[in-house]
Structures are given as structure tokens and as C-alpha cells.
């Protein structure tokens, strides 16, 4: 491993309307190095990579490769200078052969020497020890092998910098091991690899250095041995460990009856979304939360409770009685409400009016043959628009023309209208303004004091510590701990999230 810089990015700035996505970011990649790029969602990782690969133009800053400045205006430019990217979603053609995929778009002229191409591909596959044949159809290879073929294609294009954007998220452990072996082989050949992932264990297994980003800014660059896991988590989340400003538990706890059974109790619940079986319970008037880094499986857990993913095992009891939740409607009928993580994809029905969006869940509960009258629907809409101070021109306005925070309030109102016993809020504060965030947290505490049980998930630890009285901690799709009482402080939470400290 030499120490000369292969790629240098200096003082990169990039703004989108209303957002400063990158502010003066520096990034250095050396020859023969695997360099992890870490940060929570919205930290600017993917923007940085898109600037580097020419998908976005940069507003300011320099990029130099092996000491000489390069101008990258398009993905083709990036490829020409030797920067290749392998994305999370494989961008190859499944119906073509392996060899065709390796050579597609890079042959000159209209004639094609098939034999030469297949021989060439075979050679590459053998040199990288990829278990595939050149003439095999890509589809018939496993996802990991497809991923490797994408890398082989990149390597064969004489790449100096290889960017792997979350390549492991759909792979199992053995496949990941194979991929890592390939990465180490490439490293020996002097290729610089930028590795983006959410899995901490993988970073510590394969990387040499880490660059951490947060809120579009560079936090720092560290050698892997100088940055223990807890430090890494605290840098990603932006909380200094000494910053022990204790957050007092201000909430007026709901008076719980002694010996009452939990509102909801799950045992060995598991869904087809790839989480390990977990146990869970929540009491009346309790606010608890799932915490963990992105991709740790916290959303998948609540989706399993709501029946949003296919539940493949486990038992659920409500108020002590066993119930069966196979689909969202079952959960709704049992008084469970779920505000999904992705507002745009799973939450709003964009073209419909605020009113229709607001009554949707309650209307479905009421039944197909019993529509609310226009007067009733308007009454509900006006009531909740006022209650949650939703800013909209009228109840007739399509929800998609509202701001993110107000859209979220409408979805929240949709579920409050069903008067649930148990409310699940998955990232209700993501991408919305600070004022609304505070409103939502206050509302959560108020609802709980009135006896509603709430599960609150947020990427911001602050919010979780402020609202929850118990935290379920997840890592790599497993529940790894449960914290309550005096354990509810940032140090302890981060330690548990990071885990595996040797």
C-alpha cells in the first residue's frame, strides 16, 4: 500500500434549490486503499459520489486524479479517466450473457468478434476468480456474482477508482465474504476503492480509512485503527460523547394500572423483509422507540407488527388475547395505526385532496358501502386542519402541493382520525421543518398521557431520548438491546448501537 494520493477532491460545493448539499468537502483516496464513506441519510455521501462520477456538476472545487486536475462533466467522462461505479441496484442487462455485459457499450465499430469477446471475458473472470462462465446468461448468476461481474466490468475498463455504493445490502454473509475477497484482490493491484455502506461490521472488516460526513460537511478522515466504533457512531450522529447535557424526562407519565397486560405483545415475530425474529411489547400510555442506524431493521420491525410486510412467523397478543395480523387491515381493525417511513411512496396519495387523504384510513375501516357524506368528510378535514394547524389553501387542495411537514401532518391526522390504541410513527420528523418536528413530539407526549401507546422511530437520537421511555436497539437486523430509565443517555445508546467493541 503506497501513500501517494490517487484521487483528491478539494473544497467541493454543491447546492440544490433550497439545500446546500455539499459545503467545502475534501476527500482523498490513496492507491491500493479501501476507503469507507460514512454518514447518515442526507449527509451528502451520494451527492459527493454523484459529483465525482459526473451525474451532478459541482458548483465549486477541484478534482484531481494522480496529481493532475480532471474535468468530469458526465458519467462517460468519469469512465474515461478511470472512475467506475457499481450501484446498489445492479445496472446490467439480465437477459444478456456475462461476456456481453462485460463488453456492452465499449466495442468499436459494428462488427463483433464473439470468440474474442468470450475469451476475453473468460480471462477476466478467471483472473478475478469469479465463479461464472462467459457465455452464461447473467440472470442465472446469484446476486453476489452479478455484483462481482459489475465490478469485473468496471475493473476491465482500466479503472483506477472503484466506487461501491452499498453493494452488500442485498447479499447474505457468504456472498459478502466473496465480495470482500475480490475487493482485497483489487486493492493489491493498486485500485482505490470507495466503499459506501451502512453496516459498521463490514467497515471494520475490510476498510483502511474512513471519511465521515454529516449535513453536507466533512467531519473528518481517520485511519480505521484510530477510530473506535463508538467514536464513529458519535461522529455520524453529531453528538460528542462528553456532551452529556442530560435530557430530563419532562413527560407526565400516564398512570398505569399495576399488573396490567401489555397493549401489544409480540413473540418471535419475523417477516419476509429479512429481520431476525424479535420480541416486543408496549404498555398502555407508553412511548417507546426502535433505534439503530439506517438499515438496521427498525422500520422492518414495525412493518411486521402492522402486517405491511408478509409476516412469516411469531405470535401477537393484544391486551392479552392472541390476534392474527396478516395484512394492514387486520392491524387497523385491532386499533393499530402506522405512519410509514417514506411519506412520498407509502404515505400520501399525491393527486387526491387533503380531505380524501385525511379520511382514507377511517373510510376503509368504515367499509366500502358506507361512504362519509361530503359534510362529514369536510367536518373531519376542518377539525384536523385546525387541530394540527395544517397549512393548506383548502381541504380540496391536492396533498402533493403541500410542504413536506404539512403532508406529514395530514397523514398523522389520517391515523388520529381512526382513534388508534397503538400508534406507530416511523420517522415522522424526517425532512420537515424544526417547528413541525417540535409540534409532533409534543403531540406524541400528549397522546401518550391520554393513554395511547406510541412507538416512535427517528434518526435523531435527541428526539428519541426526549420522547421515549424505553428504547429497543437494533443492529444488522437484530434486536441487540433494550434500554430504559437511567440507561437512556446518549453514551449508552451509542455504545449499544455500535456494539461489538473489541
Amino acid at each position: 500500500m503506497s501513500n501517494s494520493a490517487l484521487l483528491e477532491m478539494r473544497n467541493i460545493h454543491k447546492s440544490f434549490p433550497g439545500v446546500r448539499a455539499l459545503q467545502g468537502v475534501d476527500f482523498t483516496l490513496r492507491h491500493g486503499e479501501i476507503h469507507a464513506l460514512m454518514g447518515e441519510n442526507g449527509a451528502g455521501k451520494s451527492t459527493l459520489i454523484k459529483v465525482l462520477t459526473g451525474v451532478y456538476g459541482k458548483d465549486e472545487g477541484q478534482i484531481s486524479l494522480e496529481g493532475s486536475a480532471v474535468a468530469i462533466h458526465s458519467p462517460q467522462d468519469a469512465q474515461k479517466v478511470g472512475i467506475s461505479t457499481v450501484y446498489q441496484e445492479i445496472s446490467l442487462c439480465p437477459n444478456l450473457s456475462v461476456a456481453e455485459n462485460i463488453y456492452i457499450g465499449r466495442t468499436a465499430g459494428i462488427c463483433q468478434n464473439w470468440k474474442k469477446m468470450n475469451d476475453g471475458a473468460e480471462k477476466i473472470l478467471r483472473s478475478l476468480e469469479i465463479p461464472a462462465k462467459a457465455t452464461q446468461q447473467l440472470e442465472s448468476c446469484s446476486i453476489a456474482v452479478q455484483q462481482m461481474i459489475a465490478i469485473a466490468r468496471a475493473v476491465d475498463m482500466d479503472c483506477k477508482v472503484l466506487i461501491l455504493d452499498e453493494p452488500t445490502s442485498s447479499l447474505d454473509e457468504q456472498e459478502v465474504a466473496k465480495l470482500f475477497k475480490l475487493m482485497r484482490d483489487l486493492k493489491k493491484k493498486g485500485v482505490g476503492i470507495i466503499f459506501v455502506t451502512h453496516f459498521l461490521d463490514q467497515v471494520y472488516e475490510v476498510c483502511d480509512r474512513i471519511t465521515v460526513m454529516r449535513d453536507g460537511k466533512l467531519v473528518g478522515e481517520y485511519a480505521i485503527k484510530d477510530l473506535p466504533r463508538v467514536q464513529l457512531v458519535s461522529k455520524m450522529l453529531g453528538k460528542e460523547l462528553d456532551d452529556m447535557a442530560d435530557i430530563q424526562d419532562e413527560q407526565q407519565a400516564y398512570k398505569r394500572e399495576e399488573g396490567a397486560v401489555p397493549v401489544l405483545e409480540a413473540e418471535g415475530l419475523v417477516s419476509d423483509a429479512g429481520i431476525k425474529p424479535f420480541d416486543f411489547h408496549i404498555d398502555k400510555g407508553e412511548v417507546n422507540g426502535f433505534t439503530g442506524l439506517l438499515g438496521s431493521g427498525r422500520s422492518e420491525c414495525v412493518r411486521a407488527i402492522f402486517g405491511a410486510d408478509r409476516v412469516t412467523g411469531g405470535t401477537v397478543k393484544k391486551n392479552g388475547k392472541p390476534i392474527k395480523i396478516a395484512k394492514p387491515l387486520d392491524a387497523m381493525k385491532n386499533g393499530i395505526a402506522y405512519l410509514p417511513e417514506d411519506r412520498k411512496i407509502d404515505g400520501i396519495v399525491g393527486d387526491l385532496s387533503v380531505r380524501d387523504n385525511l379520511i382514507l384510513a377511517q373510510q376503509v375501516l368504515k367499509g366500502f358501502f358506507k361512504p362519509f357524506s361530503k359534510a362529514e368528510a369536510n367536518k373531519f378535514a376542518d377539525e384536523y386542519i385546525k387541530l394540527l394547524s395544517i397549512k393548506t389553501a383548502s381541504a380540496d387542495t391536492p396533498i402533493k402541493s403541500l410542504s413536506g411537514g404539512n403532508q406529514q401532518k395530514v397523514i398523522l391526522a389520517r391515523w388520529l382520525l381512526t382513534h388508534p390504541e397503538y400508534l406507530i410513527l416511523d420517522e415522522p420528523t424526517r425532512g420537515i421543518d424544526v417547528g413541525t418536528k417540535v409540534d409532533i413530539q409534543k403531540l406524541v407526549l400528549k397522546l401518550a398521557s391520554e393513554g395511547m401507546s406510541v412507538t416512535f422511530i427517528s434518526s435523531e437520537l435527541d428526539e428519541m431520548l426526549r420522547t421515549c421511555s424505553r428504547l429497543v436497539v437494533m443492529r444488522d437486523r437484530k434486536v441487540v438491546g433494550e434500554l430504559k430509565g437511567s440507561d437512556l443517555n446518549q453514551n449508552k445508546v451509542m455504545n449499544t448501537i455500535a456494539g461489538g467493541e473489541k
Binding site: K327, M332, G347, V349, V364, G367, F369, S394, P398, R414
Partner: protein, 359 residues
């Protein structure tokens, strides 16, 4: 449902944003054009037909009569489009099947019966059931097997007319019973053409269904955001399937009218290309062919615009070979005008014009 209420928008630009605006304007322009060329265009006369029954006649009556089939199919096609984001291209073939089944039940084994072998209502109900089953077949392919609607319905589009012929052993049954002709002609004593009455009945029926059930809300929600609908407890697959089954009912009704008009059936010609007119009606109504929000009224008006256009062109002695080409020109104009991009441009032009006037 159309435009949002804003205080600054003036009446005209508000009107333009209404979904009904384009089809209504097209209807109006065509009528005015016809009136200028022929002032008697709107005239309706009460006369007697050759068996002595009172009948209304005139261009408008003829348009309303002949437009019935497309208008009825537009109802089902609107729902299918909204829920599945695609179109059913097999309705013409399905009409042939429904008509053939109807004849088969009415005629029994004899192709030229003196008397009907079963009451008409029984025949209709059986053909209705068959059409709904074929609708369900399309619906299952689309909803559960996630096949693109156009590809899924291509199967029945290709096979439907052969199936229709096979139902009657490729013979052409003829019904001489007079009462069977009522559905495509006139009921004695009622001067209004029966297809028009049936079409109005269908419109009233769908109007009541939309008012007293959540069909509109569910269909729109599924068409706009399937994943979100699912998390709100809806079953998107079932709703898509339902839309195809409703289209099946429309197909059976059209089958009855079509067969009754001729008292017989021609498997390869009956309801030919009617699916394209039905889809066009939905598009002319300003409904997004990619699914989502819909206006039933706009689709139905769209259907009559098509019929009005056809009649107008015939009236000006456009040869029937050249008719589709002329029709296409008008359709292109209408579709382009109703495209959101163009409408945005229009309303911004209007705003600019007004500010200039004020200044």
C-alpha cells in the same frame, strides 16, 4: 373536484382548469359548426316509423342513439384506466362473445327459431355472467399476475371473436321475434331510441354507485399510489379486478344493444374497433391514461364527442374510407390541447395578457 379555490384566479382561467372544459368545449364547437353549416341541425321531429310507432328523429337523436355503445363502454373503461393505469383492448371481442352467448341462449339449438327458447332477461343475465367472467380473467392477469393491461387483454382481443363464433358453432342465428328488436330500436309507444334509454340508465346506475359506495375513492387511491393504499387497508388487487368485472357488465349491455340492432351477429364485424373509441372517450375526457383521478362525466361526454364528430364528417360527405384520417386530425388537436403542458401554457398566457391589460 376540479379546480382549487383561489381568490386571485379569474373565472376564465378557473374554467380552463376544469376537467370538463375541454370535452364540453369540443362538443359545443362541433355543434356550433354544424349549426352554421346547417341551421336545422338541432331540429327534432316527431314522426312515425313503418310500423306506425311514434319515433323522434333528427341528427341529435341519431348521435345520441349511435353514441350509446361507446358511452356505456366508456364508463367501464374509465374505471379500468383509473385503477390499473392501463386499458382493456379486448372489449370489442368481448362484446362479440356476449352477443353470441345471448343469441345462443335465446335460440337454443335451432339457429332460426320461430319463438324464443328462453326469456330475453335470462339470455341477458347469462351473457352478463359470461362477460363478467371474461372481465375477471383479464382482471386476474392484470391484478394478480401483474401483466400490463394492454398485453393481458391482447389475449382476449386475439381469441375473442373465434370464441364468439365457436359458441354458436360458427353459424349465424337470426331472431325474428319483434320484441328482441326493441333494445336496439324503439319500444312501441316510446319515441326515444331504446339504446339512449339504456345508456342513461347505465349512467344513473354508475352515478348512484359512485355516490353510495367508496368506488371512486378506492379506485383513485389505488391508481395513484398502490403502496400507500395497501398500507391504508385497501386491497389493490381486488379493486383492479373489480374494475375489470364492472367493464364486463358494460360489455354485456353493449352486446345486447348491438345484437338487437341487427337481430343477428357478424362475428368479425360486430363492435369492431369499439375499444379504441372507448379508450379515446376516456382520453378526450381529460382523464390520465396512466391512472389515478378520473371524471366519469367527462369520459361520457368524450364518447358523444366522438359520435358527433363521426356524424358530422359523414354529413359533409367525407368518404367512409377517409373518415379515420379526418377523425385522427381532430383527435390530435383535442388531445394536445388537453395535455397539462399546453393547459399550463394557456393559463400563463392568459395571466400575462391580463396584467398587460391592467397596466
Amino acid at each position: 373536484m376540479g379546480a382549487t379555490k383561489t381568490n386571485n384566479g379569474n373565472i376564465f382561467s378557473k374554467l380552463i382548469k376544469q376537467q370538463l372544459f375541454i370535452p364540453l368545449a369540443a362538443l359545443l364547437i362541433l355543434i356550433i359548426f354544424n349549426l352554421i353549416m346547417d341551421p336545422s341541425f338541432l331540429k327534432i321531429t316527431l314522426g312515425y316509423n313503418n310500423i306506425g310507432n311514434p319515433v323522434l328523429s333528427g341528427y341529435i337523436i341519431r348521435i345520441l342513439d349511435n353514441g350509446s355503445e361507446v358511452a356505456i363502454l366508456a364508463i367501464g373503461m374509465t374505471l379500468v384506466t383509473a385503477a390499473s393505469g392501463g386499458q382493456d383492448i379486448s372489449v370489442g371481442a368481448a362484446v362479440a362473445i356476449a352477443g353470441s352467448v345471448l343469441l345462443r341462449v335465446l335460440c337454443g339449438s335451432n339457429t332460426h327459431p320461430e319463438t324464443l327458447q328462453a326469456p330475453i332477461i335470462v339470455g341477458f343475465l347469462v351473457s352478463c355472467l359470461v362477460a363478467m367472467l371474461f372481465g375477471a380473467f383479464n382482471g386476474v392477469l392484470v391484478a394478480y399476475f401483474k401483466i400490463q393491461p394492454m398485453v393481458a387483454t391482447l389475449i382476449l382481443y386475439t381469441a375473442g371473436r373465434s370464441i364468439a363464433a365457436w359458441v354458436n358453432n360458427n353459424e349465424l342465428p337470426i331472431i325474428s321475434e319483434a320484441s328482441f328488436g326493441y333494445f336496439g330500436g324503439y319500444i312501441p309507444g316510446i319515441p326515444v331510441p331504446t339504446p339512449l334509454i339504456i345508456a342513461v340508465a347505465c349512467m344513473v346506475a354508475i352515478g348512484l354507485v359512485l355516490k353510495f359506495t367508496n368506488l371512486r375513492l378506492y379506485t383513485q387511491a389505488v391508481g395513484i399510489n398502490e403502496s400507500s393504499s395497501k398500507l391504508n387497508g385497501l386491497n389493490p388487487q381486488l379493486i383492479k379486478l373489480l374494475s375489470f368485472v364492472i367493464l364486463g357488465i358494460c360489455v354485456a349491455v353493449v352486446g345486447l344493444i348491438k345484437v338487437s340492432r341487427n337481430s343477428t351477429i357478424n362475428y368479425s364485424v360486430i363492435a369492431k374497433d369499439i375499444e379504441m373509441d372507448a379508450i379515446l372517450a376516456v382520453a378526450l375526457g381529460g382523464n390520465a391514461l396512466g391512472g389515478g383521478k378520473f371524471s366519469m362525466a367527462a369520459s361520457i361526454i368524450g364518447a358523444y364527442v366522438i359520435q358527433l364528430l363521426t356524424t358530422t364528417l359523414f354529413k359533409f360527405k367525407v368518404p367512409s374510407d377517409a373518415l379515420p384520417a379526418y377523425k385522427a386530425v381532430v383527435v390530435i388537436i383535442l388531445v394536445v390541447i388537453s395535455a397539462p403542458v399546453v393547459r399550463e401554457w394557456f393559463s400563463s398566457m392568459i395571466k400575462k395578457f391580463q396584467t398587460k391589460e391592467v397596466a
